[in-house]
Amino acid sequence: MVEPVLQIDNLTKSFGALRATDGVSIDLRPGEIHALIGPNGAGKSTLIHQICGTLRQDSGTIRFAGEDIGALNTAQRAQKGLGRTFQVSSLAPEFSALRNVMLAVQAKQGSSFGFFKPVMRDRSLVDPAMAILERVGLADRARLPAAELSHGERRQLEIAMALALQSKAFLLDEPMAGMGPEGSKKLTGFLDALRREAPILLVEHDMDAVFALADRISVLVYGKVIATGTVDEIRSNPTVRTAYLGDHA
């Protein structure tokens, strides 16, 4: 079997008496989209936070690209190649779309301690950033401040930044949230192609998108993974149907 890019084993996190993450084990294999679904309050966000390093797990291990990253901070994990987007877009709002992506390009190059060369005249930053904006369809919005972009465009910009990091895995937290049907459709097509670049752990409520995209689905309820399997297996799983899917399936 191919070694997973991301492997989470027996992860536990409690807040007081609440076990927000209760012995979770999931993995992400090369080339796949692994969707993580579950009702509100199931602990999806808590899990994401632990994977990214904004929260520290109580116990369990997180291995990424063959390394234990459980003790690293957010910036170090990003440097290892963990690309992330947020449930609520997180950008530098005053910077243009271009400068946001350039920040990611600069981080990827590993040198943020240049003091004298203007970034806007640095082809090694501007050109790759522009190419990525073109790829996600934001080239004509490149000069607009991130704060002035539409909701959907901000989501695309976040993905552009994750792309600029040449991530080894993408962690997308509800990328479809707040998108219109048209936008969702476009983004679904985009993510479908993105998995060839790096595997995606997709947290999503939009079941149409999940069923269209996912190679595997894990269902998280009360901090526990109650099922993992292909789309068909999950759809026909009686426990999942009662716990979450309801009449969706």
């Binding site: 990214c52 904004t54 901070n73 957010t74 910036a75 170090q76 990003a78 440097q79 992330r84 947020f86 997180s90 950008l91 530098a92 709002p93 005053e94 910077f95 243009s96 400068r99 946001n100 350039m102 920040l103 990611a104 600069q106 981080a107 990827k108 040198s111 943020s112 301690f113 240049g114 003091f115 004298f116 060369k117 203007p118 970034v119 806007m120 640095d122 930053l125 401040p145 930044m161 600029a164 990091l165």
Partner: protein, 324 residues
């Protein structure tokens, strides 16, 4: 291409040069001194603006660095004049370039220590902890009798700069003016650089910076140290302007004054500190001549700026700040 902001900046820079030249020609050295004061305060605020304006780090302790610069000038020149060696038998000096280097290095080291601890906090805690550190330096200076303690330290003869006679007000002004322009140039370079991008992004969204793999702490600490160094350079000049350095340069009033200059001029703007310093010194002079309670009116103006003109003087003159 001359944008509106660049035009305003250019005019400000020219005005600060032409006014003292004219005053000197008409035999009014007092106004030259006033312009020198503006240039030096602008440089001090420019330093703080790097941390506060670009990095969003509201340091309420920059007087520490301003004062360290001042004491570097005072201590070095007093040893040079008394021929007493300092620690390690090193001689003092009356040469400004040497004094500046000492001021910058000393303040940089102190800022590294203060920043390393303070930057583990943020928001109100950061403001308070930088204030606390500055007050420690203040009380240290007060209780150090070797260099004047509470009474301060006089600089008998203004320190020298090669090739000019700094005792002439205009010559000293020109030295300060050139240093200010160099400081503004450095600020502009840093703001446009990779480091500047990371520093400004860390102000706008810390999580975002960490998520692309840049450590916000390291970026901020570096910014804080550079910021302190520039302010210390201004402190050395300020001591030479007054030919006197005392703990008042280290007091929290001074830290507050630097913040006021930035807010008056326009936070994060390249020429904000100069605009703010010019406005401040002009008020101090004009209103101070009428009433000794001029700071009451300054307070009203500050209130007006904060309520109605967030961009400060530059915001009024040159419109909103633009990012590339």
């Amino acid at each position: 291409m001359l944008t509106r902001e660049n035009t305003v900046n250019l005019l400000l820079a020219l005005l600060l040069l032409v006014a003292p030249l004219a005053a000197n020609a008409f035999g009014q050295p007092f106004y030259v001194t006033l312009a020198t004061r503006i240039a030096i305060l602008a440089l001090a605020a420019l330093g703080l603006n790097l941390a506060l304006g670009l990095g969003g780090l509201v340091s309420f302790g920059h007087a520490a660095f301003f004062g360290i610069g001042g004491y570097a000038a005072g201590i070095l020149s007093s040893h040079a004049l008394s021929y007493e060696p300092m620690i390690f038998g090193l001689p003092g000096t009356v040469q400004m370039p040497v004094i500046w280097i000492v001021a910058v290095i000393a303040s940089g080291l102190v800022a590294l220590a203060i920043g390393a601890i303070s930057l583990r906090t943020s928001g109100v805690y950061f403001i308070m902890i930088t204030l606390a550190f500055a007050q420690m330096v203040y009380y240290f200076a007060i209780s150090w009798p070797a260099y004047g303690g509470e009474d301060g330290l006089s600089i008998m003869v203004r320190n020298q700069f090669p090739g000019t006679n700094t005792m002439k007000p205009l010559s000293f002004f020109l030295v300060c003016y050139v240093v200010l322009l160099a400081g503004i140039g450095l600020f502009a370079l840093i703001r446009a650089s990779r480091f500047g991008a990371a520093l400004q992004a860390a102000r706008q969204n810390e999580t975002r910076v960490a998520t692309v793999g840049i450590h916000p702490y390291r970026i901020r600490l570096t910014g804080f140290v550079i910021s302190a160094m520039i302010t210390a350079l201004a402190g050395a000049l300020y001591a030479d302007l007054n030919r006197f350095v005392s703990p008042s340069m280290l007091s929290w009033h001074m830290s507050g004054e630097l913040i006021v200059l930035i807010i008056l001029g326009g936070t994060g703007r390249l020429f904000g500190p100069l605009a703010g310093a010019a406005l401040y010194v002009a008020f101090e002079f004009a209103l101070g001549g009428l009433t000794e309670r001029w700071q009451f009116f300054l307070g009203l103006i500050l209130l007006g700026v904060v309520l109605f003109a967030r961009g400060g003087l530059l915001g009024l003159l040159a419109g909103k700040a633009k990012h590339g």
